[in-house]
Symmetry: D4
Subunit: 255 residues, 8 copies
């Protein structure tokens, strides 16, 4: 806050800019970046790369690193990832592209940034290969919030042995994200097997009627098991909600 006021006093910024910053957000040519969201809920502000140019994303990422110590870019293609890496490199930070995530989540940590580390675990479960990229986005976000993340892959219900084999691992988590496309039966089955809260993450696989994740989303909404859901492909939201639960559990553990 002091910095903002000093900048104002020094005439480096105008009053409107100062007001904005104090209200919790910074302005770049590509729009405003909400640093306050991170302070409010511990969720890093995600920069959605889709529909923005690499330069715009890089500018927002640099602002994010400046104001919060890190940046999280989702749905970045290679050009965008490169632009971000170069821009934040110039500013003395490191960018990593998450290896699990073919949709391209880029994580940037400022030099010396210490990510939070929670005493709580999140399991990220997938039904099949096609669910991996969206699940990867969820995993990255949960990890940035500080949760220990366990990926359990390819346990779709067409072969029940797969999930039955892994049920002990899933039961160790404090919150569970289950990513599935097509008919989306896996979240219902998992929620019947574990104690922890389950979050369905429908994936936009499948063609024809009910395709593009619609049947999977509707299956989550109609589930006979207790679970909540996010929208199709909303990996960021699923991971962030699981991270919020992990934060609550961690806070209770460390009270």
């Amino acid at each position: 806050m002091r910095e903002t006021l000093a900048a104002l006093e020094a005439g480096e910024i105008g009053i409107e800019e100062a007001e904005s910053r104090l209200a919790g957000y910074a302005t770049t040519d590509a729009g405003r970046f909400d640093a306050a969201r991170e302070r409010r809920r511990g969720i890093p502000e995600a920069i959605l790369a889709e529909g923005k140019t690499p330069a715009e994303v890089a500018a927002l990422a640099t602002t994010a690193v400046d104001t919060t110590g890190r940046a999280l870019v989702t749905r970045a293609d290679e050009a965008t990832a490169a632009a971000v890496a170069s821009a934040v490199g110039d500013a003395g930070a490191d960018a990593t592209v998450d290896r699990d995530d073919r949709v391209g989540t880029v994580v940037v940590h400022a030099d010396g940034f210490e990510p939070p580390s929670l005493d709580a675990a999140v399991a990220v479960v997938t039904a099949g290969t096609g669910d991996a990229p969206v699940a990867g986005e969820a995993a990255v976000v949960a990890r940035e919030i500080g949760a220990a993340v366990d990926r359990i892959d390819d346990v779709g219900v067409a072969n029940l042995d797969r999930i039955l084999d892994q049920v002990d691992r899933v039961r160790e988590a404090d919150a569970v994200v289950v990513a599935a496309g097509r008919e989306g039966a896996l979240p219902t089955v998992v929620a019947g097997l574990v104690d922890a809260p389950v979050i369905a993450l429908p994936v936009s696989t499948g063609y024809g009627v009910g395709g593009e994740g619609v049947a999977a989303l509707e299956g989550a909404l109609q589930s006979c098991s207790v679970l909540t859901t996010v929208n199709v492909d909303a990996g960021f939201v699923a991971g962030a909600q699981a991270g919020l639960i992990a934060r609550a559990v961690d806070a209770a553990r460390t009270e």
Copy 2:
């Protein structure tokens, strides 16, 4: 055929009526009854009671008994069932209301009618209580076609032990109908566990988005397992298709 021609010769019916009968259907005031369908595929012609008065249904049922030896009335309320029982009783036949079926399937057999008996079995599986009526309709039709029918109830996937306990029974069938509403995950799970052809029968349970069986139908269309489906609540069609498979298997067995 001779009967039709005799009636024509005797002036009891006109030429148009004779033509109709020979083309395979009989006419009553409530519409035409297609006796030929039974001859063609062994599927009894079903009389859908919804949208007809008890008297219209009773007239069609009597015609059905006269021309094919039996009648099958679906979605009959109590008044309709009574009207049918009374009408066919006057004509010397017996009506039974299927005990499994709260939607009211009425079966009538003419005195001395010998229903077919196939050397082939159909399993009719349900996920929960709400699926019973529609499954009952399927079971009645398959039984009328001649299949041995095994009902396996309440094995929904929210508790996997239920279906795993019963999998040996399901595996004995030559064709399997799986009725499920809500998220409709059971047909996918069953088709992953058995060899025989599986037919999904979505049921109109569930409210909100994807309710009224829509999510269950879309889940069947998107299933990761191999199965075919019928429309929501189309118990007659599911049972008849299972019966056709049973007929094919029986014919092959007895070649």
Copy 3:
């Protein structure tokens, strides 16, 4: 378990019944009751009254009380509530109709049943009068799981002062359910104001395009804030998920 085996040995039940009980569910004429769900996740098995006769619901409720010490009936009309009260009264238990809930949630506790009591709180927030019944269902379930429940009503966003006045109360909860119909803007606003995980509960108010809760559900799926959602009017699921989070937090607090 011993009881089940004893009953088998005594010939009171057959082998199939014994298997069923051990697999975790009891059978009545109106279907099976899944006692195991309660053991698995602490969520009382809800008996959905819609589509069942009062007598069927009463039979299931009595079985529930016998096997788990309590029963939870949702969407009960007055005749059903009376039938349940009478049936469980004969069996020596007490039924209460939740006062907040015009859709009729009936709670039954067996004599001497001690409901769980968690060291964790759930806030149930509504936008307007029409959201109260569905929110009431959520509140009852969360309370039965053992959470301390705080109801915060009529704080819809058409008058922002309402929610701003109550934000401190909402912030005290470990999990927040926000019920809203029409355009469903409230969950997004609340999730921007609190740290805890927020669960949107869309309500089937509103007519025309996007009515019956569809716009509210889609708004939750598209929310700019981090939250998960349940289906339209799925008060039971929202309350149960909030209760699962409260259980996790309570367990962490008492480790």
Copy 4:
């Protein structure tokens, strides 16, 4: 009118053309241009560039400048903007691409054209960066009608401080356009804070169910506040309606 008749008399145009012009529209090879709309309601006739070649758009724009003194091209890509600039430049007029508007609104004023100037203000409010292009289209149209336009950006409800900070600016307007995608909660919140008529402008952001602006549109239709709406991305219509209100207010002020 005299010009038209003179051209007819001089044999420069035929009777059909004369009739057309008097009925208020001019014909080019690329279709007819409705000069009368401008006369009727003061709304400049917009030329939608999508689905037309640059040459077709340039021809229509030149006709527009000839008959009304200006042209307004919406959704123009760079090639189209260049073609228009070149064509009208040859005809002695100036084209400007609106700076706010990434969807490419091109404004052309004939040399000496005096745009109207109303004693009335329109606020154009956006929730986030993605809403800017569509909002820009609305702003341009309102400005061409003569309103004083105030852009208030990035005040989405996920951080309520943003809109609360700006509410005094919004209250100064005679009509308010609020552009928002995703869940579209902002128009409802703004309409609860101001006296003037509010027009929702849903924006096609967001993916999955309710995406592409559908949830935002349905939210506007279901809003608990009083507001009217236009279709998704219909910036032109929203700006024009706001401009019509500004005209009415200006006329009343200057009566």
Copy 5:
């Protein structure tokens, strides 16, 4: 405000109630009534009777009269209208059921209440007989806001002479509401004929695909003329928005 504080001091109400009132709303057993909305935008708070008992509506109406001097009840059946009339009669006010409105809008004015009277006019236009009730709701609201309302009925486009005959009357209004069901072509035609802002009010007539007002709403969203729309049957919203425009014009006229 003083009254509220006095009541608090006198112990007639508690602190929470006092806070509520100062935040602008009153509480009854049937929910809260937002008196502040009227102060904010001049729109009387409407009490939607659908889904409430006559007694609940009557209680809310009495509160409304007490706090704002009037009450507006929409979609009231006869029993509700009677309950309101009786309750407010006891409290010394008068209730009138609007004659145009078969959906039952009830207007109550406290003894001595002086409704506002604006120097501005609203035209309410209908295509056919089926549009009258919804249009009536719009007319009542606009009138309560103080506008002079002109009803122009049965001018649907299947016979163009009808609307062409009345166009001069429509042109006298400062804002125009056009109610139409079925294909909803009338708002487009009217907006092509007048200068003032036009608000489409789709009506839920028509069956089959596009029925229940859906085609009319989509037609308004797709209109080639400039207009904004409200949801199907949202007469209250259309009338209130027209009233807000009339207020703005009146204010400008009387500046």
Copy 6:
């Protein structure tokens, strides 16, 4: 027929091929061409170019010319048109691309082919520029069936003078096709003005909800005037049905 049998006798074709030809269709590598449709209803068999390679279309077109004397290719891009022109040129016929039709209808007449000429007229009316290509497809088909076709363009209802000016021309037709996108009000207005049967031809213009011709189609289905409709962009079907009416009228005139 003789030709077919001769070819069979000569061993040039096999029995299956002969059967096919006698059943009315010819086979090429790209599929079968139904020469019989032309004989049955006078409608030239259209070859839909979309989804076929230029070579496949050219082969089918050559077969069409060989068996019926002409070919009609719809939705052809330039490469396809060129391939057809070249292929039929080699075979001694002429191909013309219809000038009105930007979607690319190609007409081929064999040398000496005499198209039918009916004593009946079809009017093809459009609302705006975007409707021209689809309307052009309708016009070409009607002309090939033999009708005299009158194109009346740009008479959309946002400016009623346009259609009122042209109503006498429209009234001269024996059947009327009215092409309109967006809100699709024009067919309803035209059907209120003329005696002849009107066929609505919805066009896939417009974006957002109800876009891509959906609102126009639903408007036709809900029309207050008497008219029938075809699917969105189904210019071929609209023109062919108008042509069938013209054939019926011509036959009656020349009886």
Copy 7:
């Protein structure tokens, strides 16, 4: 016209009423009746009974008989039919309920009214019993326009012999209406067998996805044969369009 002016002169009606009549419609308390539609296209103005009271319908019917010599009431229940019969009986006319039509079409002819008689035939074809009421509505309208109507029933495609038997009768018609619900395959098959224009009339039979006539309507829109369609259950429109074609053919025959 003279009558109207005389009534005005005599002071029996006011100027507004006179204007209305001359514009072609009469006013009753239940709304306006468009006598002009009959004069314009020969289609009797239908009074849709749904949503009107018996008294309102009777008043409109009496006005219709007074101004045009007949009345056509659609979707009348028994009470409405009785009210109409009684009202027009008092006025010296006769009402008949069409025997084919279970949805209740009432036809009234004034004493001495001579219905038109065209030298042209319309076939009305149905797939099954459920299609009869809607087909009956079409038949009545076509007959009132003057066409000779031939009903051909129960020829659905599940048994192809039925339609093949009747194809010669269908071929005698100048226009064909084909009513079918469920999958709606019959219109496509019929249009492949006849020369005359075919109008599909989808019927709201069938449940589940695609039910209520939706699949039948979409099948008509997607038909591989040339045909146009009306909305689900729009018997009046289908019959009227067939009647317009019959009028055109009759006019050509009698030129």
Copy 8:
């Protein structure tokens, strides 16, 4: 199994990998391949090429050949087909691209692999040219399962002679797949003509409302004949289900 254990003992794989293999699936970098599905139902595991790189598909195909003796790749473009051919060639197997199938089904048989050969036949029927690729996918799968496959093409119902000519061939099959797009009437007609079970395979042809196969799918769900359906374009599923029926019949024949 021994191989797996040996590999474990030899330290070539870890315990987790061993568990996976025994549970029936192999792991590659591109995901897991379910060898067990083939053992369970005789259906070769299909590798969906869409959304995977050629290298990923080639790796999965090689794994499939290694573990099951064959591979089946669906929806492969040319680059993918080439990559598969090259990869499996290196591993000593042969790849064939099915000639009927423009969507690119690639079949690979390991050297010495003996495909099953069943004493049962499957007919694969198409309505038109556009249905061939999807039908081809069905045919390949059925053939790989071991059925004798008979392709019967271009027998759409717009010309009934086509299907009537071929009905004897269709009647020879033990199971029938009927592929049709647009209005999808053919499955209904075929199921009315044959005894064997019929599986509808809707194809994504057709544009506008009901296009992309939606009308065809809904037509199958609503069919008046007995049949089951798969999703739009789900050739693999239709062929596999037909193959399962053929397996059942073959097993019965050879008992």
